[in-house]
Structure formats: C-alpha cells, structure tokens
C-alpha cells in the first residue's frame, strides 16, 4: 500500500516498509508515525538518525546492543537499554524505528 508524502506516492511492502530506501525523506517518518498515533520528538529523531547513519555504513540495521550502547553513550547510561527504546517505539525499536527510518525490516529469528 503506497503512502502519500509531500504530494508523492511512495511504494511500501505488505508490512508498511518503504519499498525503496532512496525515496526516504524525514516527512516519511512523520507520516508513518501519524498513522500509529505517535508524535515524533527529538528523542525519536536521535534514534531514527542513528539507524540511517548505521545503515549507510553497514547496509543493515544495528544490533540491539549496538544501538543501546550508542544511545547510552550519547544520552546517558540510564537510556542505554531496550526499555527506553521500547518506551519510544512501542512496537519495538528494530521494527518500528527501522520502518520510520526507511530501512528494510530485520528478518530472521528476531
């Protein structure tokens, strides 16, 4: 089902992940979050931006521990854990945050 972002129609897969990562723009995250009744804060954006940077370098989303460690370093140790991330992204950091960031869904036994 395509989503409308800034007047453009962007293709997504069955689970709502962007079909083409190169079509991502910040507004994509805003539109997707709105559908989930979620207002994006700076804390959300920190995660989304980190995911995109990591993906640029490694062509995959970061492992949960890599992500929590990076968050802990940047925002304080109390935030470097899954609980904090689930607080921001209730559907799970890997799945919900990756979707907003335009990354493909992590597959496998996760």
């Amino acid at each position: 089902m395509p989503i409308d972002v800034n007047g453009k129609s962007l293709e997504t897969d069955e689970e709502g992940y962007l079909a083409n990562i190169n079509e991502w723009e910040p507004e994509v995250a805003v539109v997707m979050a709105k559908e989930d009744d979620l207002a994006l804060t700076d804390e959300h954006w920190d995660i989304i931006n980190f995911l995109r940077e990591y993906y640029d370098e490694y062509q995959i989303a970061p492992a949960v521990r890599v992500l929590t460690k990076a968050v802990g370093k940047k925002m304080g140790k109390d935030k470097g854990n899954s609980k904090y991330l689930y607080g921001l992204f209730p559907y799970g950091p890997a799945k919900q945050a990756c979707r907003y960031a335009g990354l493909p869904k992590p597959t496998g036994c996760v």
């Binding site: 689970e15 949960v64 521990r65 036994c109």
Partner: protein, 512 residues
C-alpha cells in the same frame, strides 16, 4: 507492545480442552512470497498454470521418496489421541488445528489420487479433488503447524504431522506458492550468509562491541573472533545471537566459556547462521545447500571441531542430518562429537571442574526451563538418553541457586512449542503466535504463582524472540525470557576477573 485486535486466551490453573470452533483460524495466512524470493530457491515465481497436475505429480514424487509420508497418510485410525495435544488447537479451538484435522487436509487429496477406493468412490472414503479451495486451506493450516512433533509423542502409530506439513509446504513451493518469511530468509543466507542479512563488517563491528563490553564488565580481554583461520573450533550460531536480546547475552556466555576453556575458536561470516529454514519448508535441496555452507567454512578455516550455539531446529538439522547433508567430516578431530552443542561443551567443563561459578550473581532470578521442541523431540545431547533434557538443567543448576520445573506434562518430551517455531515467527501470524503460546504461558504462569519463578531460560533463538513478543500479551514482562548461556555468563568467574564487590559479598555470605 502492539494492541491485540484479537482475543488473548485466559490463563487457567489447569489445562482445559476447549469446545470446537470450526473455522476460527481460517482467516490466518502468512504473506505469500513474491517472485524475487522464490527464484533463488529454485521455485516458480507465482502459481503455475497447470498447478493442480504439478502438485499431484510432486505429491507422487514425495510419496515415492519418503516412505514415511505414505505410512503416515495410510495408518491413521482416528483414535483421537492427538486431538488435544497441539498448542495451536488448544489456543485457537479450530478443529483443523487438531493434528488429525491437519493431516486430513492432505490425506483427503492423497486418497483421491493415490488410493484405489479414493479414485473410484471418493465420497465414501472422504477423498477430495485438489481444488483451489483445498489449496487455500492448505496454505492457511499448514502454516499453523510449527512442526514441533508433540502430537507424534501421543500417536500410537507415531504419525509425525511435522513431516506432513513439511511435505505440504514443499508441494506448494513447487507450484509457486511459497511463504514470504521463510523464503526471503533462505535467500538472504545464500546472498549474505545469515537470516538477518548481516554483512561481514556489521558482524565485526558487533563483535568488537561485545569485546569492549565484556572487558568493561570483567577486566578480562575475552575475544569474539571471526574468520580466524586455524582456530580449533568453528562456532555456528543463529544470527539472532548477534542481533537480538536476550540472544546476545548467550553469545557473550559462549565466548566466556571458550575463553576459560583455553581453546581457540572462531565464528565465520560465510556460515554466520545456524538456522536452516530449508527444513521448515520441507526442501531437501535447500536444506542441503544451507548446510553445505558450514562444511565450506570449516574447510576454509581449517578448524578441527564444530560447535553449535543455542538454536533449536539448527540442532535437529545438525544432530540428525549434518552427516548426510554435508559430510563426511573425516577432516575434523575424531575425539569429539561432530557436531557438538554448546551446552555439551559447557557441561563437560563443569563436570571436569574447570569452570568456577558465583551462583549468587543470578540470585535476582528464580528460573524455570523451557524445553525447545526440536531439541527435546528430534535430537539428543551427551552420551545418555534424555541428555537433551538433563544437560541444560544441569547447567542452570550449576549457575543458579533457584530453579523449579514447570508441570511435568508440559516439559521434556511433552514440552509445548513456544508458538513461533517451524517458520511461523513472523508478525503477519501474530494472532496465531499469541494463541499458540497459551499452553506454555499457562504452565509458566502456574509455576510463577506456585514457586515464585521469575524467569524462563531457553536454548533456541526462535523461542527467545517469540517469548519476548508474546509475554506482554499475557501481562508478563519481555525480560522474563533469558538465554541459558546468559546465566552461565552472569555466574562464571573468569581467571583474573575484577570482582572486588563480589568478593566482599562472598565473604559476608561465608561469615553469615
């Protein structure tokens, strides 16, 4: 947690056999694989024109190849023993999720085309043409079987529904109807080396992070090596161990055990996946191709031993089929089992007194153990029958002060599946996963109430991810599921480890 748009089963003090609700799960069907995901596995991209004919031919081929399949389809006497044994039936109330109901979906087609009575008097013997409706029913209900084989334990004829559902998926794949979750993942292993699609640089980055973490925690430089030629042991582990929690805590534990054992070991980017989803889709060709990667890595890295990490169905493939899939293993050290399970490895060291533990490190938990179906019913560990049940428990007892088993009829060979095995661990089957987890959640809930259990340990990546997801639906916490080697990691005292605080605690314990 996502809100449930279906009814989450209530947990009761005793198991109840639910009243039938025909068609209750007829709507449940996973996403179909697109052509891109079918091609690399050697399957047609979409439903082929002469699908009916080709499906029947394929069924004939499988009946010839697997004598067991024909025996299973011929021998059911409708005794009813299996009817209340499937976690999906208990959780969904759908009679097609009774093992006999599921088998009959294939049996009616088998009778129509492969038995004399079915060919001439189909109605008399419950035989049916392979119509589009039947195919749709197959797609739905053969993706509601986690191939856990609990039903086969109770069947007086030993009919194995898992094998029937594997055959059904193989037939459907052969006519272009594949399941997205499994087939996309198998393609990723071919392309990148693991289910998650973690490329080498991401694996290295993740492992370096673990080395830093363990050093920060313990002051000991434990290594997490990858692609190191000449190492003694190749560790093959599910890629979820790199990526997810609590899996990664188990991987940290494996590394600490190898460190204390003083053996050299390595992971491999080429074989960075223990899982073998070829089994879930019943495809011998794909199962073999996936297993061959382990052989290739073992040869390239010149290892002498192969050890598998905590992954249920991988251990079935490894323990039961690795020799025929990827052997002979004559280049490995014959003094060790090929392959070896990480639990066997750790348990051996414990028995030799080579590992020191501070059990109090796990005193914040009261543990129980979930037997994973493929380990429990399709493999073994150690050199005694039942080793697959006793060895993980022995490790938990050696590393934790507080351990209680769940109800006897829900553990060991009668264990309930987590609800996400067999290629069903996908978000598009969440209703099925939550409902199918009910029997396990019920047993856990009871042991929590009766014994004060707080955490459940497991040795399977699928189980760990499934419980992380479904526990909150039942009002529990996702952190309640832990890896067995996470417990080992917590309690293991590394040689030279900084443990000032712990030492003080131990001293005060002794004084008390």
């Amino acid at each position: 947690m996502a809100k449930a748009d279906f009814e989450v089963p209530l947990l009761k003090p005793y198991a109840e056999i639910p009243a039938l609700e025909p068609g209750a799960m007829a709507h449940s069907r996973p996403f179909v694989a697109k052509a891109d995901f079918q091609g690399p596995l050697g399957f047609p991209g979409e439903l082929v024109e002469d699908w009916q004919e080709r499906a029947i031919d394929k069924m004939g081929e499988l009946l010839g190849k697997y004598r067991s399949l024909r025996v299973y389809l011929d021998s059911c006497v409708k005794c009813g023993s299996c009817t209340d044994k499937c976690h999906y039936y208990l959780g969904t109330k759908d009679p097609n999720n009774m093992p006999v109901g599921r088998q009959d979906l294939m049996r009616k087609v088998y009778r129509r085309y492969f038995t004399l009575a079915g060919r001439f008097f189909p109605k008399l013997v419950g035989a049916s043409d392979f119509t589009r409706e039947v195919l749709d029913e197959w797609y739905s209900y053969f993706h509601q079987c986690s191939q856990c084989r609990r039903c086969s334990v109770f069947c007086p004829y030993g009919i194995d529904t898992a094998e029937i559902s594997m055959a059904a998926r193989e037939i459907m794949d052969s006519i272009g109807v594949g399941q997205k979750y499994c087939n996309e993942i198998i393609g990723k292993v071919y392309k990148i080396g693991n289910n998650l699609g973690l490329p080498g640089p991401a694996l290295r980055d993740t492992l370096e992070g673990l080395e830093e973490d363990v050093f920060d925690d313990t002051g000991v430089a434990v290594r997490y090596p990858i692609d190191e030629e000449g190492a003694e042991i190749l560790l093959v582990t599910p890629s979820a161990d790199f990526f997810a929690e609590p899996h990664v805590d188990g991987l940290i534990g494996y590394g600490k055990v190898f460190h204390e054992a003083g053996v050299s070991w390595t992971l491999s980017t080429h074989a960075s996946e223990a899982a073998n989803f070829g089994m879930f889709i019943g495809s011998y060709a794909n199962m073999r191709r996936l297993a061959q990667r382990i052989r290739e890595a073992a040869i390239a890295l010149k290892v002498k031993r192969i050890v598998f990490g905590e992954c249920g169905h991988a251990w079935r493939v490894a323990y039961s089929f690795l020799n025929t899939l990827a052997g002979p293993w004559d280049f490995l050290d014959p003094r060790y089992p090929v392959p070896q399970h990480i639990c066997e490895f750790t348990h051996d060291l414990i028995q030799q007194g080579k590992l020191r533990f501070d059990k109090s490190q796990n005193d914040d938990m009261v543990l129980t153990f979930h037997d994973s179906c493929n380990v429990a019913r399709a493999s073994r560990m150690g050199d005694r029958p039942g080793g697959q049940f006793e060895i993980p428990r022995a490790i938990i007892r050696a590393t934790c002060n507080h351990f209680f088993d769940m109800e006897e009829e829900t553990i060991r060979e009668r264990t309930f599946c987590c609800g996400g095995g067999g290629g069903l661990l996908t978000d598009d089957l969440m209703e099925l996963r939550v409902k199918g987890a009910m029997p396990r959640m019920q047993a856990l809930n009871n042991v929590m109430k009766e014994k004060g259990v707080t955490h459940m340990a497991a040795i399977c990546a699928i189980c760990k991810s499934q419980f992380t997801k479904v526990l909150p639906y039942y009002g529990m916490e996702m952190e309640q599921i832990v890896s067995v080697h996470q417990l080992v990691s917590n309690a293991l005292i590394l040689t030279g480890q900084d443990r000032d605080e712990e030492d003080e605690e131990e001293t005060s314990d002794e004084a008390a």
